[in-house]
């Protein structure tokens, strides 16, 4: 009995050797899948927006670590009023607002920006912190970024130094619905110690909502739109104020992002545009504008050719 069993064992063992030579067992395909199953979970999606700003609104994106973004933003004069027309080349000779600024990424999720607006000669400092990133598996379905900013008007007559200051706080929420379509909604709070415009009844602080989308038409070009609405009974009742609306096209060329837009609002800074936008499309008070954003990378060169 023992002998028979030993024989049987040897026979089967020998057969398995033969069988193994004939088959490609185990299938390399299934093994590769087994190994690949350890792929990163909750992987962050590719960026929802190309740039850190759209037209008025900041996006949920921040400048990456050791990157410096240089920004030049312009708003020209009215295209459809007496200021416009062919003589001023549709408002190009009448610059309404210019913003020059830099943004620096201290980490991949935290940036500081400093800049200057022509309107009010207002200097601005902003801190932007990306808190949550949307993941490919929808474990986190949204991007969430917090922005806190401060503006200072160093010129002009103010009762006290404190009156020169204004503040903005914003919770930017965005979702990339598809490879081409991203949408964002941001509750904003603006506080201006000397409210703009400085007229009786204008409260120093108010809430607002800003909403925008990006629709990527080609790999290099996207259409964007941006709309803001201040929740202010003073602004609703006075009848002079208009909600800023902007439409634009964004071109991405590698290191640059170039945005060409049309807006009714003259101001670039949200503190100004939310507080005091009175120009309306209906009266021809819309203008061309552009944003040039140029990224510089200061990450140290890593050489990896010899391994």
């Amino acid at each position: 009995m023992k002998k028979i069993f030993t024989l049987f064992v040897l026979l089967v063992a020998g057969m398995s050797v033969l069988a193994q030579q004939n088959n490609k067992t185990p299938s390399a395909d299934s093994m590769l899948n087994l190994l690949s199953s350890t792929d990163a979970q909750h992987e962050q999606i590719l960026p929802a927006f190309n740039a850190t700003r759209l037209i008025f609104s900041p996006t949920t994106e921040t400048v990456k670590k050791n990157n410096l973004n240089f920004l030049i933003i312009h708003r020209f004069g009215d295209m459809g009023t007496a200021i416009g027309g062919f003589r001023s080349f549709f408002g190009l000779d009448a610059v309404n607002d210019v913003y020059l600024g830099i943004e620096y990424g201290f980490t991949d999720n935290f940036q500081v920006s400093v800049g200057r607006n022509s309107i009010g000669q207002m200097g601005e400092t902003q801190f932007k912190w990306a808190l949550i990133h949307q993941s490919t598996d929808d474990h986190t379905p949204l991007n969430l970024t917090l922005l806190a900013g401060e503006g200072i008007r160093p010129y002009g007559s103010f009762a006290s130094f404190g009156d020169r200051l204004s503040y903005i706080g914003e919770l930017i929420i965005s979702r990339k619905f598809s490879r081409t379509f991203s949408f964002e909604l941001s509750p904003v709070y603006v506080r201006d110690n000397q409210p703009l415009p400085y007229v009786p009844g204008n409260p120093p602080g108010f809430f607002a909502l800003s909403t925008a989308f990006r629709w990527k038409v080609t790999k290099r070009m996207s259409l964007i739109a941006d709309y803001e609405h201040p929740f202010s009974s003073f602004r609703n009742n006075s009848g002079n104020f208009e909600d800023p609306i902007g439409f634009g096209a964004e071109f991405e060329t590698g290191g640059h992002v170039f945005t060409l837009n049309v807006t009714n609002a003259r101001a670039i800074s949200q503190i100004n545009s939310l507080s005091n936008s009175t120009s309306s499309y209906g009266r021809g008070q819309f203008r061309l504008g552009f944003t040039i954003s140029r990224m510089f990378d200061f990450n140290k060169k890593k050489t990896s050719n010899n391994y």
Partner: protein, 181 residues
């Protein structure tokens, strides 16, 4: 005796089925392109590979997002505009080594592998040379080859043409372990 026999039987069949199958979970992939304006250099150590030393079957799979670049914007554009890694998350190679060497003996063996290389959703039949070295029973595979962007429908727009080479050098290096389940 009968019990030992069964154990021996089961053990032998498992051992033999798995014999000669090697896996690597952390193969190093380096891609490099050079132009007068800019060098592009990215690395990943997250490629996985399976090599069947009996049949010569060799497979690689690389999660494209695991390639990290020196410049973060470069990495973003690589994923978004060139490889489109949200659509095509993996680069793979499935092939067969012609006359696979005996990896039970130490030595360095030049090998030629023929198979399908896929990236950006486009598959190309490739014949790639490399080396298998065995040192103290540890199997290492090294290879270097060139990928032509045009072969895989990777468009480089005119505007950045001078920054990105048409040919990308790929280096692969993996240290394998015998597969244990």
């Amino acid at each position: 005796m009968r019990f030992t026999g069964i154990v021996l039987l089961v053990w032998m069949s498992i051992f033999q089925a798995r014999q000669g199958v090697f896996v690597c979970k952390n193969a190093h992939i380096n891609i490099f392109s050079s132009t007068p304006i800019e060098d592009i250099d990215a690395n990943s150590i997250k490629a996985v590979s399976v090599y069947n030393a009996n049949t010569g079957d060799l497979e690689f799979s690389l999660p494209v997002r695991s390639l990290h670049f020196q410049k973060s914007l470069m990495e973003e554009h690589f994923n978004e505009n060139y490889i489109e890694s949200d659509k095509f998350p993996k680069a793979t190679f499935k092939g067969k080594i012609q006359s696979p060497p005996d990896v039970s003996k130490d030595g360095t063996y030049p090998v030629i592998v023929t198979g399908d290389f896929q990236i950006h959703g486009i598959t190309r039949a490739r014949t790639i040379s490399g080396t298998i070295s065995v040192v103290n029973g540890i199997v290492t595979l090294n290879s270097e080859f060139t990928v032509k962007c045009a072969d895989h429908n990777i468009d480089i727009p005119q505007i950045v043409f001078h920054n990105i080479a048409e040919n990308i050098r790929v280096r692969v290096s993996g240290t394998y372990a015998l597969f244990k389940n």
